[in-house]
Amino acid sequence: MRPLTTILSLLLLLPGIAGYGKVLRTGRGEQFEKITQALLAAQPHDTIIVQAGTYKEGNIVITKPVSLLGKKYPVIDGEKKFENISVKADSVLIDGFRIINSGTSSIVDYAGVRICNRHFVTISNNILEDCFFGIYSQYGVNCTISGNKLAAHQVEEQQSGNGIHCWKSDSLKIIGNTVSGHRDGIYFEFVTNSVIWRNVSHHNMRYGLHFMFSNSDMYAANVFENNGAGVAVMFSNHVKMFHNYFRENWGDAAYGLLLKEISDSYIDGNCFDRNTSGIFLEGVSRVEMYRNLFKENGWGLKIQASCMEIVLKENNFVSNTFDVGTNGSLVLNTFTNNYWDKYEGYDLNRNKIGDVPYRPVSMYSIIVEKNPPAMILFRSLITSLMDRSEKVLPSLTPENLKDPNPLMKPVKL
């Protein structure tokens, strides 16, 4: 009886003893003047609250698991010389800072915040302005990067780093960030089992999202708008792309979504709106694309002959200049039950599926593919005559690229 009560009362007291660290206040007229001083004095699991003000302390290195909380966005200025914060401990939290002017170099990748080889680091609700790299995770595991706003204003691609740069990391959560003006908005290389959710990446110089050698990741409900070259997903497998918006990526080398050497992936419920090419696929295999919307793109889909076993089902193609473009006659992909607004067939048995197949590749799209200046003749009488005759007797367009069951009404998304 008695030992039991002792143990129970000890258990009740335990969180009070071990769970709470000290609170260290930093700022003018507070306990510590500088963040580095507070960090020196802090014990593991202490909390450092930083008051508003400007802190120019060179490179702040965090070597203990502490929480750094900013009040009213205290400014951490790298003076264009230093890396602002380097995290070299597990379980660090950095929240509510304004991190500006990190160093710029062509040899060292200076970042606003760098996570070096650590677990369970959280970088949340910060504002990063004019940093070379924004948030840099190398060998980060189980880290969270959420609610940050990153903006840079460089003009040259070489002078700017990536917004959120993740390299050889695992199980990251990138949630609700806004990135603009960087080289790549979000950059993934050798990152696995991670999720990119509800971010906005716009007006970046190169790609909104750049994805290399990163397997088993998911990105969902993001907005990629007006980036120099759209979004690139390359050399990866088991990637899930759900409910993203790809908008206004214009230019000959700009794609809503560029897929290169991708396999075993899913692209569902995305919206491709006003891109020069909605999706460009090269060397892609075993990808399923369901219920996407392609709207007002130059080319809805550019599918190279090197792709195989791609399934396109229940997608809506609306007001695209060309629905599908291709570069060869070999077709190893399946198109079925899509809605094409250019479909001119009929539905006699009223099962809402057109009775004649739809061929989404128009002859003129092939001519333009071979000879781009021919675009100047688009929609002239001669080209529409050629398109018509091609529909009756296909000669240039691939015979097998067709949707045997085109829908009469758009899929409700």
Binding site: G251, A254, R274, T276, G298, P373, F378, R379, S380
Partner: protein
């Protein structure tokens, strides 16, 4: 001159064919917008209408009208009126009436259903094409007294601008595919008012596709304020040059 213009204008506006033309334009435009749930598809049909039907009707109607009014013109010539003012009032009357019926036939539905930049461009280009093809008809009909030959010539001219010219351009594009001809293409397009009108509309309608590499050159030229101004000037030249040529011929013509 004003009196003659007024007389011709009233005569044409009351003409059954022009009334039917206006009516058909109205009917087509309203059906197109009424049937399609997607206004862009409607715009596409209207674009074809503007690029092919409008020039055809304008050029043929004007040619026939000029031949039919040859006695009226001779009567006027016996009066102390300058040849120039007779010919110019004939042109003004025809161009004014046909542009007006286009404005009524396509403009009203367009302004009701789709007041986008594409719609406005289409309307302006349609007006220009109406006027230009009246001028071309004047040129075609001044050369010969034979009505059949005159009409034949104007149909040939229409065919050239609507179809043959593009065929030649396509041929050249493939012959010179290895050379950087994008910039030259911009110049070539100025040689055909139908092409110029089409490109102006295309820049609004298919902007995503035109933003490709070569497309960007077209966009950089035609899409800028300067480019639009240049295109408008070229269209205006197309509306006046055939007219001035025909006027020269008419002045020297032995009637």
């Amino acid at each position: 001159m004003k009196k003659i213009i007024k007389y011709i204008l009233l005569d044409i506006v009351r003409n059954k064919i022009v009334l039917a033309y206006t009516g058909i334009l109205l009917a087509i435009s309203f059906t197109v917008f009424g049937l399609e749930d997607n206004t862009q598809k409607g715009m596409l049909t209207l674009l074809n209408l503007v690029l092919f039907i409008v020039p055809l009707v304008c050029v043929i109607f004007s040619t026939i009208y000029i031949y039919n009014s040859s006695e009226f013109v001779e009567l006027l010539l016996s009066q102390p009126i300058k040849r120039k003012s007779i010919w110019l009032s004939l042109y003004t009357g025809l161009a004014g009436a046909l542009a007006l019926s286009f404005l009524a036939g396509v403009g009203i539905p367009l302004l009701l259903y789709d007041r986008s930049a594409t719609g406005i461009t289409l309307l302006i280009m349609g007006m220009f094409l109406s006027i230009i093809f009246v001028a071309i008809a004047m040129l075609a009909s001044v050369g010969t007294r034979d009505k059949a030959r005159g009409i034949g010539l104007s149909i040939m001219l229409w065919l050239y601008f609507a179809l043959v010219f593009d065929g030649i351009v396509l041929f050249l594009l493939f012959q010179f595919a290895d050379y950087p001809i994008e910039k030259a293409m911009v110049g070539v397009s100025a040689l055909n008012p139908v092409d110029l009108a089409r490109i102006m509309v295309l820049l609004k309608m298919d902007v995503s596709a035109l933003m490709g590499y070569t497309g960007a050159i077209f966009k950089d030229f035609f899409g800028t304020q300067q480019g639009i101004l240049v295109s408008m000037v070229v269209m205006a030249i197309w509306a006046t040059a055939p007219l001035l040529l025909s006027l020269r011929k008419f002045n020297r013509k032995d009637l």
